[in-house]
């Protein structure tokens, strides 16, 4: 048995290795560096100290955009005036522009100059360097080649020739710090976070039971986590993965904000910036939001419906383990220095064009794995909720969080095939040269947009609807009464689910899609406001007349109501097409979707963390730290995203690595104060980013020495509050499932609304009263 499983493991790891390695071969050709690192195509095998290169005429500090005449020369080596040829050079500069002064040298690019054939017979060359117009630390790399000119000799060719290298540095007028490669910063930060995570886990492991802190105990512990099929443990894994990638996506957002803090910044190159915003989007949606949701869905759905586990526990484990592999593939491009740079939407034909980075292939491959994972998750949850509800629990007696997961998975299950198909087409286009998106071969430039947004719009609802579920649970519990309009909540969510499939065209109002279709999606998009409005009003009415308990999860819920409503209102600008023509692809859009995705989903799931953490860990979170997290987070969050609306209206376009402010009146461009707002946004972004560590610290502190949690700390009604905290495994005894009774049961025997209406038409109530008198 063990040999068999070892063999399976071997085969699987070989397949995994092959998947990781084989496409990387395709992406290799971009990785070769130029002459500046490897040495020149000089004659002679190695460097020689006999050759002494020099550059004369370089200032210590340059002035902006000034021309400097520089003289490049060398001494020593076999070169002598009697030789047929005397030598050559190659000069590379990091910034500014190099120009040949005469026919003895030639320019390869603004950064590279070398000698010509006419300049073959000298040891001194004159050049012009135009300094950059901004502050840069400029580096010069010079290669000189001393030649004995024995081309026709017995030991002909380049034998006996020697070369050497010289580097020189020139400072800018205003001194700047040496630039760090942002990718090095990113990977260092990811590495540090991963190590910290490992240490934290080890520490938690140690503190829970100091005696058992040995490998003999640790090995089975880790093996248990790696092979578990228990919905609670997989939920925890999802949860940790989601938080980790929330941090990684956050780090990328911080790099983006450093870049945008001042106009015309050069912290990131355009190339790096394009990769950062692409991976920020992909990470946040697919690797942070979805796993966080799945974490809570895994934990809570079986508990809420009174099931021992999910219907297909092994499939569940597979859904999870596809994610880290997919994440690895998505990031592979970054590690090779050319990650995907297509935006998370990956529009064709750019995504299949030659100018898109090689890493895009890996990014697509990784997302295909995530599609597989989501499909399996969909099957699992739909099955579980359909067949494993506890006795007595009808469809309309399910807790609202379970309803939200059901609807989200239904949407995902129906929309994600379109995305999968699109991704596979792009993958084939990029790898084996099919022509689905090759327009010159008859491909359709809009096909990808349709496939992507047919999935993409339901996807953003997949991310927000579970947050609705959380908010419904928390608000009802905190207001200590049942949710107002339970049935209309369910119908509203279902309505959002249905409408989500027919609104996606609003992402394509400027795309050249048929105006008829644009008009139709304008109408349907407006409709989304109705079911969402119902939910907001129901939540408000639940609180009205209730007796609200202000715990941390209540605060996050109230915060959610504010920010999500604001995000919803800013969303109503887009279906008005004439408005959208201006706002499309501007920072107004960025502000809107961060208001609904951070102010909606993330706030919703922060509420979920504070609400369900005692159930999951068996320990109560620290309320003081929680309130601090809420206050700092909520204020900095609004300071971060609110000013973006204004920037968007002013004309700041998204996906631009830089922006410029201008004093030129009436240019329709960004005014001077936009720079101040951007700095304000960047500072707020850092505060918001670091405020989240308060929550992480709170969780670590709680797990180690938190107060023990009772089974039902908040007074909820559903099944998860009836087991112990943390719940046993299996969560409920399969032979002794809990039973749900309905407090509204007696109503079932009373006449419904329709029959009441008929009754009223037949005999008026006064008549009946008179009879009884």
């Amino acid at each position: 048995m063990s040999r068999k499983s070892a063999r399976t493991l071997l085969v699987l790891s070989v397949i995994a290795m092959a998947m990781v390695v084989s496409p990387a071969v395709v992406s290799y050709p971009t990785g070769i560096q130029g002459v500046k690192d490897s040495g020149c195509n000089c004659h002679g095998a190695t460097t020689s100290s006999e050759v002494v290169p020099s550059i004369i005429g370089l200032p210590e500090q340059y002035n902006y955009s000034e021309s400097y005449e520089i003289v490049v020369s060398f001494e020593g080596g076999p070169s002598s005036p009697s030789n047929a040829n005397q030598g050559g050079f190659h000069l590379w500069v990091s910034d500014g522009e190099l120009l040949p002064s005469d026919a003895t040298s030639q320019s390869y690019s603004p950064n590279e100059v070398s000698h010509t054939e006419a300049g073959n017979d000298q040891t001194t060359w004159t050049l012009t360097w135009v300094s950059p117009s901004s502050d840069r630390n400029v580096e010069f790399i010079l290669h000189t080649n001393s030649v004995n000119g024995n081309a026709d000799g017995a030991n002909g060719g380049s034998s006996g020739d020697m070369w050497n290298k010289l580097t020189a540095k020139v400072s800018p007028p205003v001194l700047v710090l040496e630039e760090a490669d942002p990718f090095v910063v990113l990977s260092t930060l990811i590495l540090v976070s991963a190590i910290l995570l490992a240490f934290t886990l080890a520490y938690v492991f140690y503190r829970t039971n100091p005696e058992s802190f040995t490998w003999d105990y640790f090995a089975p512990w880790i093996a248990d986590w790696l092979t578990t099929t228990d919905h609670k443990k997989i939920g925890t894994l999802y949860f940790l993965a989601g938080l980790f990638f929330l941090g990684v996506g956050g780090i990328m957002a911080m790099m983006i904000r450093i870049q945008l803090a001042v106009p015309g910044n050069d912290f990131l190159t355009q190339d790096q910036y394009n990769q950062f915003f692409t991976l920020h989007g992909t990470t946040m949606i697919f690797l942070a939001a979805m796993p966080l949701i799945n974490g809570f869905a895994n934990w809570m759905v079986p508990l809420q419906i009174g099931a021992p586990d999910l219907a297909l526990p092994r499939l569940n484990a597979m859904s999870f383990w596809l994610q880290p592999v997919g994440a690895l593939l998505i990031f592979t491009g970054v590690f090779s220095g050319s990650g995907a740079d297509t935006g998370w939407t990956g529009y064709a034909p750019y995504v299949v064009s030659e100018t898109a980075h090689m890493g895009t292939t890996m990014w697509v491959a990784g997302q295909i794995m995530l599609v597989a994972s989501s499909t399996l998750t969909g099957i699992n949850f739909l099955t579980t909720i359909a067949v494993m509800r506890a006795p007595g629990m009808g469809w309309l007696q399910m807790p609202l969080f379970t309803w939200s997961i059901l609807i989200a998975n239904l949407m995902l299950f129906l929309s994600i095939p379109a995305f999968g198909i699109g991704l596979i087409q792009v993958y084939l286009d990029r790898v084996i040269g099919t022509a689905f998106y090759d327009v010159s071969a008859g491909g359709d430039p809009l096909l990808w947009s349709h496939l992507f947004w047919y999935f993409g719009h339901p996807e953003v609802y997949v991310v927000i609807v579970p947050a609705f579920g959380v908010i419904s649970e928390v608000i009802a519990t905190s207001a200590r009464r049942s949710i107002f309009g339970y049935r209309s909540m369910v119908y509203a969510m279902a309505g959002i689910g249905i409408v989500s499939f027919i609104v996606y065209g609003h992402h394509m109002f400027t795309s050249g899609m048929s105006p008829t279709l644009r008009f139709v999606t304008m109408l349907t998009t407006m409709l989304v406001a109705v079911p969402t409005g119902i939910k907001i009003f129901n939540w408000l009415k639940t609180m009205h007349g209730g007796s609200l308990v202000y715990r941390t999860h209540t605060l996050w819920t109230l915060g959610f109501l504010v920010t999500f409503t604001l995000g919803g209102i800013s969303g109503m600008f887009f279906p008005s097409i004439a408005m959208d023509l201006h706002l499309h692809e501007s920072y107004f859009v960025v502000a809107h979707f961060h208001y609904v995705l951070v102010g909606g989903t993330v706030f919703g799931f922060y509420a979920a963390i504070y609400y369900w953490f005692p159930k999951m860990s068996g320990r109560m979170l620290d309320e003081k730290l929680g309130v601090l997290h809420f206050l700092v987070g909520f204020i900095s969050y609004n300071a971060l995203f609110w000013p973006m609306h204004r920037l968007g209206v002013w004309g700041m376009a998204r996906r631009h690595h830089t922006y410029f402010v201008t004093t030129e009146e009436a240019m329709g461009a960004l005014p001077m104060e936009a720079a101040g707002w951007n700095m304000f946004i960047s500072v707020s972004a850092f505060i918001f980013f670091f405020s989240n560590f308060i929550m992480v610290a709170n969780m670590i502190k709680t797990v180690i020495r938190g107060e023990k949690a009772p089974p039902d700390p908040w007074g909820g009604w559903s099944f998860e509050w009836m087991t112990t905290s943390p719940p046993p495994t299996p969560s409920f005894d399969p032979h002794n499932l809990p039973v749900l009774t309905d407090a509204n049961e007696h109503i079932a025997n009373e006449p419904g609304t329709l029959s009441k209406l008929f009754n009223r038409l037949m005999v008026s109530e006064e008549d009946t009263e008179e009879v009884t008198h």
Binding site: D341, S440, G485, S488, M526, A529, E585, T662, G668
Partner: protein, 197 residues
């Protein structure tokens, strides 16, 4: 044993806040609908801008009280996006009506320039030579994607997308940015629109 809590609902209230927002969005839709006919105006009799101008003919733009411009005829120009530069083409219009060139904008450096005449209406055919771009006329608040393949192949999408540019007296000089992500130098793919008398 669990108990599903007692319903807490009020049919009248719930219907009220279903119907009221619905009425609100019907009104919003109606309001949003009004400028659409002008934004996507047809050419010819039914449209706002008539037929293409004869040589020497002027559009004589008239603006109504809500800002919709109607004209007697329009001029056709062509805007081409390619990585990473805009190309403006006046086709066979006289330099009095439409002119191109280049200009130095503070910070963006040398950018292509499109000079249009106040009081005239232009229909821009948008083309691309590689991937999708979108010119954003910042001061006019309009943009539209340029699709590659605008003149090749049999697909129904292989027509150029178009953009109406009615130059009223409220339109000033402005920046043109690219607002459909197109690769490395996307952010600095700019142009300038100048309005002359």
């Amino acid at each position: 044993m669990g108990v599903f809590p007692k319903h807490n609902d009020d049919m009248k209230l719930e219907v009220a806040w279903t119907v009221a927002p619905f009425i609100l969005i019907v009104w919003l839709t109606y309001v949003s609908w009004v400028p659409l006919d002008a934004v996507w105006s047809e050419t010819g009799e039914d449209g706002y801008h008539g037929e293409e101008c004869e040589e020497g003919q002027s559009s004589n733009n008239q603006m109504d009280e809500i800002g919709i411009v109607t004209s007697e005829c329009y001029h056709v120009i062509e805007i081409t996006g390619k990585q990473w530069v805009w190309q403006f083409d006046c086709l066979d219009l006289s330099t009095d009506i439409c002119d191109t060139g280049s200009d130095n904008v503070e910070v963006y450096g040398t950018v292509p320039l499109l000079s249009l005449k106040e009081g005239e209406t232009y229909l821009a055919n948008l083309r691309s030579e590689d991937v999708t771009h979108a010119p954003w006329f910042l001061g006019m608040g309009v943009k539209e994607d340029t699709l590659y393949g605008a003149q090749i192949g049999p697909s129904e999408y292989n027509w150029p997308t178009t953009l109406w540019l009615p130059i009223g007296d409220d339109v000033g000089d402005q920046i043109i940015l690219c607002t459909e992500y197109c690769g490395d130098a996307h952010a600095i793919m700019a142009g300038k629109l100048v309005v002359h008398q």
